[in-house]
Amino acid sequence: MGMFSRMSTIVKSKMNRVLDNAEDPRETLDYSYEKQLEMLRGVKKGVVEMVAAKRRIQQQATKVQENVTRLDGQARQALDVGREDLARLALQRKQTALIELQGLDEQIAGMEHEQEKLTAAEQRLQAKVTAFKTKKEIIKAQYTAAQAQVRIGSALSGISEEMGDISLAVERAETKTELMRSRAGAIDELASAGVLEDFTGREDDIGKQLARLSADQNVDDELAALKSGLSGGSNPALPEGR
C-alpha cells in the first residue's frame, strides 16, 4: 500500500472511534460539537503555552548576550593590566557563550515556526466548528430519522477528519516545544554549573573537536586584535606564544 492510502486509512479509522457511541444521531451531533469546543480550548491553550515557552528562551538569550558583552569588556580590562591569561580565559568563555546563543536563536526560530502553525490550526478549527454548528442546527430542525442519516454522516466525517488532523498538529507542536524546553533547561543547568564547554549538542565527536579548534582560533584572533589595539594600532600584533 502506498504512503497516502496508508495515511488516509490511519487517520480515518482513528476519527471514527470518537463518534460511534450515540444511538440518536442528533446526540452524536451534540456530542461531537462538545468535543470540538473542547479541542478548540485545547489548541488555544497550546498557543499560549508556546508563546510563554518562547518568551522564556528569549529571556535566556538576552542574558547570554549580556554575558558576551561583559566577557568582552573583561578581556580588554585584563589586557590593560597585562593579564593575558585572564584575557584568554574571558575570550574562551565568550566563545562558549556565542555557541550557546546560536543554539538559543535556533530554538526561538523553531518555536516561532510551530507557533505559526498552531495559530493557523486554531483559526481553521474555529471556522470549521462555526460551520459545523450551523449545519448541526439545520439538520436537527429538519430531522426525520430516515433521511437525516446521510447528511449527518457527511458533516461528521468532514469535521472529525479536521479534528484528527489538528490533534496531530497540536501533539507534534507540543513534542517539539517539550524538546526545546528540555534543551533550554539543560543549557541553564550547564551555565549555572559553569561547565558550558560541553554544550555542543547534536554534533558528533569530530564536529565537536572542529568546533573547539575554531573556537580556539577565534580566541587567538581576538586576543591578537585586542593587543594590536592596545599597542596603538600602527604596529601589527605582538608575537604570540601559540
Binding site: G2, V11, R17, A121
Partner: protein
C-alpha cells in the same frame, strides 16, 4: 479530488494529477524501505508542492471529507517507518 496535507489543510486537486501523485507515492514507499532520508524528504516536498501548486485550497469553513490524506512536510524517516509497520501517527 479533495486532498488533505496533515497539519496544513485541504486542497482540491484536479483528477488529472492523480497518476503523477501515485508515481511519487510509490517512490516514497521505496525510499522509506531503503531508509533513504534525503530521498524521502525530497519526494515528499515534491509531492506536497504539487498539491499546493496545482490544487486550490478548500474554503476554511467548508466541511468535506478528504479522498486522500498526505503526511505533513516535516515527517521523519522513523515516523514514516512507523506508519508502515506500527500503529500509525495518531495517538489512539
Amino acid at each position: 479530488m479533495i486532498i488533505r496535507i496533515l497539519t496544513e489543510g485541504q486542497f482540491n486537486l484536479p483528477g488529472i494529477h492523480l497518476d503523477k501523485l501515485n508515481e511519487i507515492d510509490n517512490q516514497l514507499v521505496e525510499a522509506v524501505e531503503a531508509e533513504n532520508r534525503e530521498q524521502l524528504s525530497h519526494l515528499l516536498h515534491q509531492m506536497l508542492d504539487m498539491v499546493r501548486e496545482k490544487g486550490t485550497p478548500v474554503p476554511i469553513d467548508e466541511l468535506v471529507e478528504s479522498d486522500l490524506i498526505l503526511p505533513e512536510p516535516d515527517i521523519t524517516l522513523e515516523e514514516a517507518e512507523e506508519m508502515f509497520t506500527g500503529e500509525g501517527l495518531l495517538p489512539g
